[in-house]
């Protein structure tokens, strides 16, 4: 609808500049014999990285870990989204909030919570079960691949949920109705009609989760290392940490395989969803999503969903709260409860740096997410509606810095920003965040985009509206569910961003996550948990504001 090549080119230039620069720096670094990006040329880092005898086993673990997490996150998201958007389950709004809570928790904290719950020695849940059933051995061991998959899957659940739920709620019900009239049960309709039509959203979520878990470090280090299970990101860490002169070039060399994997995935995704017409579900005939009446199943299902949410999400958050009240890590006991106090909270809330970082993070969250979603809307447009080779390039570019393992990409940005005047400023953080987490905006928005029947846009064009007017009046209002998801994902991500912040943040530009990391490195779980809860609280407020605003916006179409 725009002069397509121009828009596409502009976006390629912007996005390319943002994401390519750090990656190019890393590429240079991986061929540089020195610790900086411009050193003497060498290929030794690649040779060392890829001739490591453990590499094959690590790749296999990585495949299992990322694939498993994607499966857990996507299945859970589908289940929750279906129940939340399509049935008359009581108190649905609670589950909507719960489904995105893990997005707000710093991943280290969530991982540690799970360790406290499910470690085989004295994990609280394990001990409870042992007492309950008189078992000799702990039932669960978190320090295993399934344990890692569970926790990473839960952490990435919000990503999957925020992509799948809007698609689910925009579904043209007559497609399901006709299936039922054809004699198909609810289940068959789900499997044969609903899920296949939702394929872009499901694939998008799976791919995003795979890419995210590929870059994830918290779960592999907190849960994987003690279990002696190494995946790509911990393997990279191991390579950096063995020696005081951390060699990020070599880490980048290893990271290139993650990058290759991500780009391949994106092309697979594009191929699988290449006929976008197949997934148009907001037909122009209007949609009235009807609710599946659960009737007698209502309360049993409520209990199941409630129980699931409680165990998987609320419990770890409660552990956090519990930890925040304690002077040091303790399993629940009379002694522990006797020692509870608000000390950690007062400490955190009176610490000027914590307060400054709170302010900075809030700024980055709100402003960054707003700029980020705006950019995402345009990029999604090109990706979904233009679908040329150039748009494929754009899509891959948008994933570039996102798909690099976290510990490396930060250094890439540092290598890049140090050559610009914004080095060490909050703007550097802002730009870095947006560049890295662009897919959080693009994914939900573009999967909402594919569902809009092109006639809706076209009729606006014929009515004399320019592309931008059409965008404002027609496309954006119809995209609101996706935009809200994108904004929430970005805002809550920026609020707890760690990997970039830890290299780019400087005195004066402290952010929450760096503060969290400092506490974590000093082993101060109490203040850490308190700060974590504060972050969850702030994120929740942002989420609520976004949701309310979104509802308003999608209704409010006559502005001047």
């Amino acid at each position: 609808m725009f002069k397509k090549p121009t828009l596409t080119t502009t976006l390629i230039v912007i996005v390319g500049f943002l994401t390519l620069c750090p990656v190019i720096m890393l590429l240079l670094g991986s061929f540089s014999a020195d610790f900086v990006s411009f050193g003497q040329f060498t290929t030794i880092k690649y040779v060392e990285a890829y001739t490591d005898p453990d590499f094959a086993a690590i790749l296999w673990n990585t495949v299992l870990f990322t694939g498993g997490s994607a499966l857990v996150a996507t299945l859970l998201a589908l289940f929750l989204a279906y129940v939340n958007t399509r049935t008359d389950l009581p108190f649905k709004f609670i589950f909507k909030v719960i489904a995105i809570v893990p997005m707000m928790i710093p991943h280290i904290l969530f991982s540690v919570s799970w360790v406290l719950l499910l470690n085989p020695s004295n994990g609280t849940l394990n001990r409870l079960l042992m007492d309950l059933f008189g078992l000799k051995e702990a039932l669960f061991d978190i320090y295993t691949l399934p344990g890692m998959i569970l926790v990473e899957g839960l952490l990435d659940l919000p990503i999957a949920y925020l992509i799948i739920a809007p698609a689910m709620s925009a579904f043209d019900v007559s497609l399901e109705e006709s299936s039922k009239v054809c004699g198909a049960s609810n289940l068959r309709t789900l499997m044969k009609v609903t899920l296949p039509v939702l394929r872009p959203a499901i694939l998008a979520s799976a791919i995003l989760v795979i890419v995210r878990s590929l870059a994830s470090f918290a779960v592999p280090s907190v849960i994987g290392m003690p279990g002696r299970i190494y995946v790509l990101s911990t393997h990279i860490y191991r390579n950096i940490a063995t020696g005081f002169a951390a060699d990020f070039g070599k880490a980048a060399a290893i990271g290139m395989s993650a990058l290759a994997a991500s780009i391949t995935l994106i092309y697979v995704y594009r191929y699988l969803t290449s006929e976008s017409g197949k997934f148009v579900t907001i037909s122009s005939r209007g949609f009235k999503p009807t609710m599946i009446k659960l009737k007698k199943g209502k309360y049993p299902l409520f209990i199941v969903v409630g129980f699931l949410s409680f165990i998987l999400i609320l419990l770890p958050v409660m552990v956090l709260f519990y930890t925040s009240m304690l002077p040091y890590s303790m399993v629940p006991s009379a002694k522990a409860f006797a020692m509870m106090s608000w000390d950690n909270w007062t400490e955190v809330l009176s610490d000027p740096i914590s307060l400054l970082s709170l302010k900075n993070s809030l700024f980055l969250g709100v402003v960054g997410a707003t700029i980020g979603t705006t950019l995402s809307i345009f990029v999604s447009y090109v990706i979904v509606k233009v679908r040329s080779t150039a748009s494929g390039i754009l899509e891959s570019l948008s994933f570039l810095s996102f798909s690099f393992p976290g510990i490396v990409i930060g250094v890439g940005f540092m290598w890049f920003f140090v050559r610009t005047p914004i080095y060490g400023t909050i703007t550097a953080l802002l730009i870095g965040y947006i560049a890295t987490y662009l897919p959080y905006g693009i994914r939900p928005i573009s999967s909402a985009f594919v569902q809009i029947h092109s006639h809706l846009e076209e009729s606006s064009r014929v009515c004399g509206a320019t592309p931008f007017y059409t965008m404002r009046r027609i496309v954006i209002p119809l995209l609101i569910p996706g935009i809200v998801s994108g904004w929430i994902l970005m805002a809550s991500m920026f609020l707890r961003e760690l990997t970039l912040s830890v290299v780019l943040s400087r005195p004066g530009t402290e952010v929450l996550a760096v503060q969290i990391l400092n506490f974590a490195e000093d082993g101060l779980w109490g203040p850490l948990s308190a700060l974590g809860i504060i972050m969850i609280f702030i994120s929740s407020i942002l989420v609520i504001i976004a949701a309310v605003l979104g509802k308003k916006l999608s209704k409010m179409e006559v502005m001047n």
């Binding site: 470690n119 994990g123 290392m225 063995t242 020696g243 990020f248 890590s329 400092n518």
Partner: protein, 302 residues
């Protein structure tokens, strides 16, 4: 005048900076950079001409690389007068403390009679599945520490050392990524014993932590130096002087639990003032990596 920029990997030093700022204007600001990113950050900024640091602090091996790259300015501080001679031999780097390592245990869960008194006690099978330590295959400080034990002949000959390693490995300690996460499992009782740092006894009080009183402790020395491009070298030198003063070192020991080289200053931990604390030789990264490989074989054996 600008504030003095202090890049450090040592943590929790706010009380010292505060104290400095209360008596000096314009004062100093502290930029905390973790060990793994220290060199990359400083060298990147340095090569781009944007190094902001006036004073740098990090583990000795990193300081030595920085010196090699020309990042450091020569300075011999008079404040280091009473320090051991090996700590002030270098013309730029002054060593002021040791990142000391010791067996730490949970005093609620380990009976007094079971508390190890020698490193060899850690190989007792009763600790099977009950220990935690940083990953000996990748964590540089831990690798150096293990090598340091060999070179300090803690176990007599190399065979004794190897026996210790094998015994330790046989107890299947849980590996974490660095010293930071070692105290938590001990506090919570998930494990009861670990190779960790005594400073946590101070910083994590009132957690039930104590150290097993072996007779020699080892650690990587910590160094401090003035940056070659310090915007105000005089002020930077003044900061280093202050840092090395008995006053500042006293704060570091008592508030953070650090082991310092200032004469007569000790952290308030029972038994530390009498134990031998030895600096570990600076290993080159190649050495660390090849030892890491060795240790991987020993510790990761199924």
């Amino acid at each position: 005048a600008e504030k003095i920029n202090f890049y450090a990997n040592i943590t929790a030093i706010e009380p010292i900076i505060d104290d400095f700022n209360s008596s000096h204007t314009p004062g100093a600001i502290y930029t905390r950079i973790s060990t793994s990113k220290y060199l990359a950050t400083v060298l990147t900024e340095f090569s781009a001409g944007k190094l902001r640091a006036d004073v740098l602090q990090s583990p000795l091996p990193i300081m030595q690389i920085l010196k090699e790259k020309g990042v450091l300015a020569p300075y011999k501080s008079a404040a280091a007068a009473g320090y051991p001679t090996w700590a002030q031999e270098d013309d730029s780097i002054i060593q002021f403390g040791i990142e000391y390592v010791a067996p730490i245990y949970n005093k609620d869960l380990v009976k007094p009679e079971d508390v190890p008194t020698r490193y060899e006690d850690l190989t007792d099978p009763k600790w099977y599945n009950k220990m935690v330590m940083p990953d000996p295959a990748s964590h540089a400080t831990t690798i150096s520490w293990l090598v340091g034990m060999k070179e300090a002949k803690i176990f007599g000959d190399d065979a004794g050392w190897m026996k210790f390693l094998k015994g330790l490995a046989a107890n299947k300690p849980m590996f974490v990524k660095s010293f930071g996460p070692t105290p938590a499992p001990i506090e919570s009782g998930e494990k009861v014993l670990g190779i960790s740092m005594p400073k946590y006894i101070i910083s994590k009080a009132p957690a039930p932590l104590a150290w097993a009183k072996v007779d020699t402790l080892l650690g990587t020395p910590r160094g401090i130096a003035v940056a070659a491009n310090a915007s105000d070298p005089k002020a930077a030198q003044e900061f280093v002087d202050y840092w090395l003063s008995k006053n500042a070192m006293q704060l570091l020991a008592s508030q953070v639990g650090e082991y310092v080289l200032a004469p007569g200053v000790f952290p308030p931990i029972d038994g530390i003032s009498t134990v031998k604390v030895l600096p570990i030789r600076s290993l080159s990264d190649d050495e660390i990596r090849s030892w890491g490989k060795e240790f991987r074989k020993i510790f990761y054996e199924k």
